[in-house]
């Protein structure tokens, strides 16, 4: 083997060995470092997963959503309002929808019910399903369920179940599909059914619905068309996809920005600790370096030795922190940060957060944790390496 590679291996080997010898002394720093990385990584993974969910959600949002307000509260729209939109040009499609909440008393859970007229046919929506299909036109009682609903109802392999109308009579339903986990944030508590079934479940009037989903042919005309719709239906609330996207962004970026600031502060504190530890370069350490130098180790070899030690510490702490963070998201649903991110959805039934981790995030985390640590240990390493060989004689 090449001499200089073997030389590096020898130094690395010596470094790992002496790190192991000094494990008691380094353990505390190692634990704190792992902890900081764990927090940082949990936060990053959580925000990545939620952002991913929001992205998936937003592609399914219609260009314009129209609702009816009365006394500042939302009330059903009727077929009459639908007719008023005939005069607005540039609309490519209008879909009535019923969006409501069903309270499942026996399980104490709240489900989101969406009744939609047109069966979904595009690929994107199909990709949201893990199994089965959407309700077909005219298919009565067909429902697509989110995973939390599925669990709560305790259906197992059974397909049929029933829910209660407001007058406590039963509606017979059967499951035709299940939503995939990666969009759990919005689909976990969701029941998707036909417009007629939803209307039946909520006992609404035969031509009533809660909102209108409008698609526009030319995206640049969305704001114009939105204001025309607002004029055509007095007392309506008209929301564009852009506005929804901005709301989500504001919520997430505020929360993740705030959290990241706190975590960076703790990281900074840790770096100071690492630096401090390096400054407390003990008498024995100094002796060791003096002996090694007397025996022919170069200043650069000592620097490399200390660097390998820091690198090994950082790599192990990084591995441990990342693994714990992964487990935290996967098995504990990000328990520590849930309330920071999801404060606005506490009424929803519990749902699993599906980790969405990219290589880019790992690199970013490395750059924000291991690199500052390594940088903080360079000066102590340099201080160690300039110990004079003749200091031991």
């Amino acid at each position: 083997m090449n001499k200089s590679i073997q030389q590096q291996l020898n130094i690395l080997d010596y470094g790992l060995h002496s790190l192991w010898q000094k494990k008691g002394r380094n353990f505390c720093v190692f634990l704190i470092f792992s902890g900081v990385i764990f927090l940082l990584a949990s936060f990053q993974f959580m925000s990545a997963s939620l952002t991913r969910t929001a992205e998936l959600l937003l592609v399914t949002v219609p260009d314009i959503t129209v609702q009816q307000l009365s006394a500042g509260r939302q009330v059903p729209l009727s077929a009459k309002s639908l007719g008023k939109l005939d005069t607005v040009f540039g609309i490519s499609s209008i879909r009535p929808r019923i969006w409501g909440y069903y309270f499942d008393e026996s399980n104490g859970a709240n489900y989101t019910v969406i009744g939609s007229s047109a069966p979904a046919t595009d690929d994107l929506l199909d990709s949201l399903l893990i199994a089965g299909s959407y309700p077909q036109a005219g298919e009565q009682g067909a429902v697509v369920l989110g995973s939390a609903v599925l669990d709560n109802l305790g259906l197992g392999d059974r397909k049929s179940f029933s829910l209660f109308r407001p007058d406590l009579t039963q509606v017979a339903l059967h499951r035709v599909g299940v939503f995939q986990q990666s969009i759990n944030l919005l689909t976990a508590d969701l029941m998707l059914m036909s417009l007629e079934d939803a209307r039946d479940l909520f006992a609404m009037g035969h031509d009533e619905f809660t909102d209108l989903l409008v698609q526009v042919a030319n995206p640049t005309e969305i704001p114009t068309i939105a204001s025309k719709i607002a004029d055509a239906i007095p007392g309506s609330r008209v929301v564009t996809a852009e506005q929804i996207r901005k709301t989500y962004e504001a919520v997430f970026s505020f929360r993740s920005g705030f959290g990241a600031a706190c975590l960076l502060a703790s990281l900074a504190a840790f770096v100071i600790l690492a630096f401090d530890k390096g400054l407390g370069f003990s008498r024995e350490d100094q002796q060791e370096v003096g002996i090694l130098k007397m025996l022919g180790w170069q200043t650069g070899d000592i620097m490399r030795l200390r660097f390998y030690e820091s690198l090994a510490t950082a790599a192990c702490a990084f591995g441990l922190g990342i693994s714990l963070a992964w487990a935290h998201i996967l098995f504990f649903d990000g328990g520590l940060f849930r309330s920071v991110f999801l404060g606005w959805s506490v009424l929803r039934p519990t749902f699993d957060i599906v980790p969405y981790i990219q290589g880019r995030d790992i690199l970013l985390l490395f750059a924000f944790s291991a690199l500052p640590y390594l940088a903080a240990t360079i000066i102590p390493a340099w201080r160690a390496s300039i110990v004079r060989a003749d200091s031991v004689v």
Partner: protein, 235 residues
């Protein structure tokens, strides 16, 4: 008898510590000294006279502040630290006063320490350490931590470490200072066998057991950084 080839040749050597600063020390003055191959030379003098400094100079730990110094035929003056170090690890074996063995490492690991920065593979390190450990009777202790072996064994570990690179010159700074007389004798016996292997040996000591040892070829007296007698090679 013919004059032997000088292994170490110092002429008009001065050494300053902290040169040009307030705490400047003129540690060696006008040193003229030659040490021939196969000699055992002892440096003797009061504390602070410059024995260790002279030994370090001969050991290529630093070059002279002025004057000419050649060790093993290589001129040391104006040699950068990195080259001095590189030259030192091929040419010099050190035995320190307190042996300076790292207590947390095993006997074998201590012995091969000088080989690590040379890029020598673990297998070859073992091949080189084995015969030395056998020769000095520490083979059975090779996996012991250095902190767990006896003082006599420790001393033999230190000698084995000094020999691991097979250097032509062995330097020892007060090797017997903390040893009882039987240990001191044992150490001198080892040094004598090294001399028979053709090594050149320089040590510092004021122990009569060393300075009056029959195998010591010369005793050089140093006082206040100057050689007061014994500087030239005896023939």
């Amino acid at each position: 008898m013919t004059i032997k080839i000088p292994q170490i040749e110092l002429s008009e050597v001065h050494k300053f510590y902290n040169q040009g600063q307030d705490n400047e020390v003129h540690a060696l003055k006008e040193i003229n000294l030659q040490v021939a191959e196969g000699e055992i030379v002892c440096l003797r003098g009061p504390s602070g006279s410059g024995k260790t400094t002279l030994l370090c100079l001969m050991g290529c730990v630093f070059g002279p502040s002025s004057g000419r110094a050649a060790v093993g035929g290589q001129q040391l003056q104006r040699m950068p630290d990195e080259y001095l170090t590189r030259y030192r690890r091929e040419t010099i074996g050190f035995i320190f006063q307190h042996f300076n063995i790292l207590p947390e490492l095993s006997v074998e690991q201590n012995i091969v320490l000088p080989l690590l920065p040379l890029g020598i593979s673990p297998k070859e390190r073992q091949q080189r350490a084995e015969p030395l450990m056998e020769r000095f009777g520490i083979e059975h202790r090779k996996l012991f931590k250095a902190s767990q072996i006896s003082g006599g064994e420790l001393q033999r570990v230190a000698i084995a470490r000094a020999l691991i690179n097979n250097p032509p010159i062995i330097l020892a700074d007060e090797p017997t200072a903390h040893l009882d007389s039987s240990r001191s004798n044992e150490l001198m016996d080892h040094l004598v066998t090294l001399r028979r292997d053709g090594k050149t040996i320089v040590l510092t000591s004021h122990d009569p057991l060393v300075t009056e040892h029959p195998e010591v070829t010369r005793v050089i007296d140093i006082q206040d950084g100057r050689i007061s007698c014994g500087g030239s090679i005896c023939s």
